[in-house]
Amino acid sequence: MRYTLQRVGQFVIVFVIVTFVVMVATRIGSKDVARDLAGGAVSDALIERVNNDYPYLDKPLVVQYGYWLKDMVTGNMGTSYAQSQDVVDMFKQRLPVTFFVGFWAIFIGLLIAVPLGVYSAYRRDGWVDRVSSYISFAFISTPPLVFAVFLIYFVALRLDVFPVLSDYVAPWDNPVEHAKNFFLPALSLGMGLAAIWTRFLRADMIITLQSDFIMLARAKGMSPSRILWRHALRASVLSLVTSVALQVSSLVGGAVIAEQFFGLAGIGTRLVFAVQANDILVIQAVTAVLVVTVVAVNLLVDLLYAVIDPRIRHARVFA
């Protein structure tokens, strides 16, 4: 209980500091906040309307932040006047795109990393291990941007399967088209993740395989595949899981680039546009959602630890 309270307290502090600093940053060099909100060169009537909707813009920053926070908590993210769109609607429209890019990237990353990491550790210094370790070193050093260029040039332009510019198709509407449109963007992010995670899993797995309970299982005559997948893997995924959580926030950066590159209309493309136009409410809302997501994923991972590894479950109970 105390632990939970502590976590919630820390979250609130981080959330407030981050969103406040971002709000202050949006005001750097800005002469007329109402005009920025209204979308730059617009009629006086619209600015009048903005001033009507947000009567507190001449108050100190802290007060403005308080009003914003109140709106935020009650689920009102404000309006993007530049796009004449409610920010909540913007999220409804674009969040699925960004979500699926990130989700499939993580999926691809794990799909490659788990078997490869397990096998590399099992046949340590074998040829699979060697090759995969060189390739993963190269992949870690490959920026998503470079992956994207190579995927476009060597895959999208050569094969007729994948579009050069992707579109959002919901998986429940048309799974095949969805896969076609999201495969390349997700792959451009997923390969780097796969490389990092293979290393993590291999390292942990090697340590696990040397432990006594594995020797016992072997002595009992348990089959290698059962030992690897049922017993060793479970005890070795902690740093992998941690890394998945840690990568979520940097994945957002990659997703912005992937969206921009493959022409997906997600949060990222919109964010870049919002910064150009200083569409303050959009920037603040995206920041807030991102911070909450990162915290939520971290919390989820904490819970997951206990599910995956009984040793942690017990340690917590007895601590």
């Binding site: 981050v18 750097i28 870690i140 941007l145 476009i152 902690l238 940097s250 910064v275």
Partner: protein, 313 residues
């Protein structure tokens, strides 16, 4: 802090994030083949980048060669990397791009090292409330969404420098260096703090103290020299990370402005025409990849040689 709990476990579990196929084999040899490759590549690139203005075979990065426009020339003896839309030499643009990208990455890592290093050293050596304050500060910094903060600050600094003459010196090069430096403070501070904490427990520090050495002497003569290997590795891997970041920001249009070439900017300028002129997009990508790879290789070698665990930035 949510990120603290998770990332400290990560630090602990990271011994083999230091990377290679055969851990024991290469360490006794003086020069690992990858180090040789990386040093040659980086050395050549740095020399070309520094001397770009004086070398006869490198054209100006803005020079438009007559008859070479519309991607007229592919890679060949005349134009090593081909020509671009406006008839500019891609090789020259890649080299000048190296100049810009390397300068930005190196100066930001120095900025990060100066501020983050001081903070980490002070926190790790003094401990107590000072350590706690710095640690909280670092955790908060780490919680910032890096991409949002960077494009936001670069974008706002543009407005600032355009609107007031006091800040007219604040060009894109300055803002991008500032932003990347800011982002590298927290990870560096964390690594230096951890290293200092463990170093200050060692016998030689105890010996120096019992001989009556002052704090400043212990820090500068005992601890700082021992931080050098870790810092070297951090600088190399850090530059690699920052090069990737700079490339991404440049691609999004938030690094140096055209006509200045930066690798990410070259990609975004030419990628629409990749089908007819692959060279204008692929070569900057290869340059970026090989440079990041080389920095990572050297960083990794140094880390492994001195057995530094927290080296992965």
């Amino acid at each position: 802090m949510s990120t603290t709990a998770t990332s400290s476990t990560l630090d602990a579990a990271e011994p083999s994030a230091a990377m290679s196929a055969s851990p024991q084999k290469g360490s006794r040899k003086r020069w690992h083949p990858t180090t040789i490759f990386a040093s040659i590549w980086l050395g050549a690139l740095t020399i070309l980048a520094i001397l770009a203005d004086y070398l006869p075979f490198i054209r100006g990065y803005q020079e438009r060669v007559k008859g070479a426009s519309r991607f007229q020339f592919g890679p060949g003896t005349d134009f090593l990397f081909g020509s671009d839309q406006l008839g500019r030499d891609m090789f020259a643009r890649c080299i000048y791009g190296a100049q810009i990208s390397l300068r930005v990455a190196a100066s930001s890592i120095l900025l990060g090292l100066l501020i983050g290093g001081t903070m980490g050293l002070a926190a790790g050596y003094l401990r107590g409330w000072f350590d706690r304050v710095i640690s909280i500060f670092v955790d908060v910094l780490l919680a910032f969404p890096a991409l949002i903060i960077s494009i936001l600050i670069v974008g706002r600094f543009d407005v600032l420098s355009a609107s007031s003459s006091t800040f007219s010196w604040l060009t894109r090069t300055w803002s991008i260096t500032f932003v990347l430096g800011l982002l590298s403070i927290a990870p560096i501070a964390r690594i230096v703090r951890a290293q200092t904490l463990s170093l200050s427990q060692r016998e030689f520090v105890l010996a120096a103290r019992s001989l009556g050495a002052k704090n400043s002497r212990v820090i500068f003569r005992e601890i700082l020299p021992n931080l050098v290997p870790a810092m070297t590795s951090v600088v190399f891997t850090g530059i690699a990370v920052l090069l990737v970041a700079e490339g991404g920001l440049a691609f999004l249009g938030y690094s140096v402005k055209p006509p200045s070439p930066s690798w990410g900017l070259l990609v975004s300028e030419n990628r629409e025409r990749i089908q007819e002129a692959w060279w204008a997009t692929i070569f900057p990508c290869i340059m970026l990849f090989l440079t990041v790879l080389s920095f990572n290789m050297i960083g990794d070698r140094v880390a492994r040689r001195f057995d530094i665990r927290e080296a992965a930035l």
